[in-house]
């Protein structure tokens, strides 16, 4: 697999200095993604999913301490020059953020923002870039693209702005698109449209996609593989179907159980997870989920569990007493 991988992340750790000491935002993450595939990264706030995606793009604050490796098409992104990195970002590696109002420039027209990427990376002339920008707006489903191209972000709705952000990200035909909570700020009927758009463009362009979300519902129908993050690390990773068929990590299972189900009768008590996620400057010893885990035993409190090697279906999990094992059932 590693030979064909477009993106390879190896034992990546990101630490940020804070007044309370170093904050370990990403803790020893390894993953790989092949061209044209979709990886969903699921986690709650503070789980490290956004910091992981920023680390892949080398978009971290200067003070961040990064160890490990990120390879894109075999090139180590932390070894290449800033100039080489700049050519790569926006061209082959693109990103769509959660809030399109803050990621778009409020004082430039939509058309000129898309054209900027085309001129910078593809060397198109002004007029050609603008014409292509209008085409891209049409491709992402914006009606009256000619007129819209001359408008400013504040003249558009949230869904429209996210379409524009996607048009910018797609403008240079990237090989990898990272979408960080692209629909979290949007209403559910608009969310469905934006996710459809991403899926359509992805298959048309044979682009790899990392879809970062807190919503297990979003990854279920839209990804090939899922990685679940907790306290900076990947705790479970599997092909999407295999994961939903059997969740081995107590955290993944608890997260799934905590979601209100549409088919459950009203007033059904929810299976809440007690406590809160750990303070990232003071992680607990052993497995980071152990203080909240109903299956935790002595070993979980002392020794962190590493991801298991993939089983026949490609399923990996980091747990001493995985759900479904006889040893865990006793606890």
């Amino acid at each position: 697999m590693s030979g064909a991988a477009l993106l390879e992340v190896e034992d990546l750790t990101v630490e940020l200095p804070t007044e309370r000491g170093p904050l370990r935002a990403v803790a020893g993450v390894s993953l790989s993604l092949a061209a044209g595939r979709t990886l969903g990264i699921v986690g709650e706030s503070g789980s490290g999913k956004t910091m992981l995606s920023r680390a892949v793009l080398r978009l971290l604050p200067h003070a961040a301490r990064v160890t490990g490796r990120v390879r894109f098409e075999g090139r180590d992104l932390y070894a290449i020059s800033r100039e080489a990195l700049r050519r790569l970002r926006g061209r082959e590696l693109a990103v769509v953020f959660q809030d399109p109002m803050t990621s778009l420039n409020p004082v430039l027209t939509i058309g000129s923002q898309i054209a900027e990427a085309l001129r910078e990376h593809l060397g198109l002339a002004q007029a050609a870039a603008f014409a292509r920008a209008v085409e891209l707006l049409a491709e992402v489903g914006i009606p009256e693209p000619e007129r819209r191209a001359r408008q400013f972000p504040h003249q558009m709705s949230g869904g429209m702005r996210q379409r524009v952000a996607i048009a910018i990200a797609l403008s240079c035909e990237p090989k990898l698109l990272i979408a960080d909570e692209p629909t979290t700020a949007l209403d559910v009927t608009v969310q469905a449209q934006i996710l459809d758009l991403l899926a359509r463009e992805q298959s048309k362009r044979h682009m790899a996609l990392i879809l970062i979300t807190h919503d297990l519902g979003v990854v279920a129908g839209r990804t090939d593989e899922v990685a679940v993050m907790y306290a900076g690390g990947i705790v479970e990773r599997a092909p999407t179907r295999a994961l939903f068929k059997s969740m081995r990590c107590p955290y993944t299972q608890a997260l799934m159980a905590a979601i209100p189900k549409l088919h459950a009768p009203p007033h059904t008590p929810l299976a809440a997870i007690g406590g809160s996620p750990p303070d990232p400057t003071r992680p607990p010893s052993g497995c980071p989920f152990n203080p909240r885990c109903r299956y935790a035993q002595e070993r979980c409190r002392c020794e962190p569990a590493a991801l298991t090697p993939p089983d026949a279906s490609g399923h990996q999990y980091a747990c001493w007493f995985p759900v479904g094992d006889p040893a865990a059932a006793e606890g």
Partner: protein, 332 residues
């Protein structure tokens, strides 16, 4: 008129009846039609879920019940007294019995005050009890919402997580032992694992304090988890209202079906959500003629532009405002 008409109002005495409520603001060509002729009621002990997308007027409606926004027209009857006609001390007295919980748990707590003071403030404003009595009540309510009163009383909001701040907000809403609490997106800023804790807590508190709730949210599954009845709102109007289970299982308004179909289910074998309605809601400054949903409705016909559908009972207890709704319902 789509979502208008008083058909959903029930006959027996209700804790709260909202009749033909209209809330508009701004003037001239920029007048915002936030709530347009909405009628519903809430029985004592019931939870009414109010769902809709951003900008549909659900939060404005919640605030207009409390007279935080003065309605343009219509009545809000709380135990028979019309709040739109009340002001000053009389209104303040009734407001003690109706409390509000907001979406952003951290922003809704004064960062300079200690938790004990924040939760005691409603008592101080209402002039209830002396210092010792207030402290006793504050401690009791903090313990009831799952916080250790001794630990939290002297601390300030920034020392707490979002979930804990929401517990403090709930304690503040409960301390006057109100009859009705309007919860405006109380869990949408919280993570999944914390959301479940807070929803369970609201359910417990409802039983323990004998509360009536209006639960405003955009997440249908969250609303269903706590509601007896559900009202679906679109662009200032009610589309459909009825028993929660019935509305979700057999929706009769196309918008309810569109919302249900758009929810991504955590099941890879479930059909991928379809975008059944295209585009986004039009502006409440210039809402469409006739049925307000018609510009995005997969079933709209010429009649929908010309004539506003009136609320009618389509199945026992379930009301809908759509020309084409049938008792067999939508195929969601």
């Amino acid at each position: 008129m789509a979502g208008s008409g008083r058909a959903p109002l029930r006959q027996d005495p209700m804790l709260l009846s909202v009749e033909n409520l209209v809330v508009e603001y701004g003037s001239g060509p920029y007048r915002v039609h936030a709530v347009s002729d909405v009628s519903f009621d809430v029985r004592r002990g019931e939870t009414l879920g109010l769902v809709g997308e951003s900008g549909c007027g659900k939060s404005t409606l919640g605030r207009a019940i409390l007279q935080l926004y003065r309605p343009t027209a219509g009545r809000v009857l709380f135990e028979g007294a019309d709040l739109t006609q009340e002001s000053g001390e009389a209104l303040r007295r009734i407001r003690r019995r109706v409390q509000l919980i907001f979406q952003d748990p951290i922003a809704s707590l004064n960062p300079l005050r200690r938790v004990g003071e924040i939760v005691a403030e409603p008592l101080a404003i209402a002039g209830i009890g002396d210092g010792a009595e207030r402290e006793r009540r504050v401690r009791a309510v903090l313990n009831a919402v799952g916080l250790d009163a001794d630990m939290v009383m002297r601390r300030r909001p920034h020392e707490f997580s979002g979930g804990q701040c929401q517990r403090i907000s709930i304690a503040r809403a409960l301390v006057l032992e109100p009859d009705l609490i309007i919860c405006d997106e109380p869990v949408s800023a919280l993570d999944v694992s914390i959301r479940a804790q807070i929803l369970n807590l609201l359910e417990e508190m409802k039983t323990r304090y004998g509360l009536t709730l209006i639960f405003i949210a955009h997440d249908l599954a969250v609303v269903k988890a706590v509601s007896d009845r559900v009202a679906v709102m679109y662009l200032g109007k009610l589309c459909e209202i009825g028993p929660a289970e019935q509305v979700f299982e057999r929706p009769t308004h196309p918008y309810t079906s569109v919302l249900l179909a758009a929810i991504p289910l955590p099941d890879p074998d479930a059909p991928v959500p379809e975008a059944l309605a295209f585009g986004e809601p039009p502006s409440p400054i210039a809402p469409p003629s006739g049925c307000r949903f018609r510009t995005r409705c997969p079933k709209a016909e010429a009649r929908c532009a010309a004539e506003e559908p009136v609320m009618r009972e389509i199945r026992p207890g379930q009301f809908v405002a759509c020309h084409f709704a049938t008792a067999n319902g939508e195929t969601a």
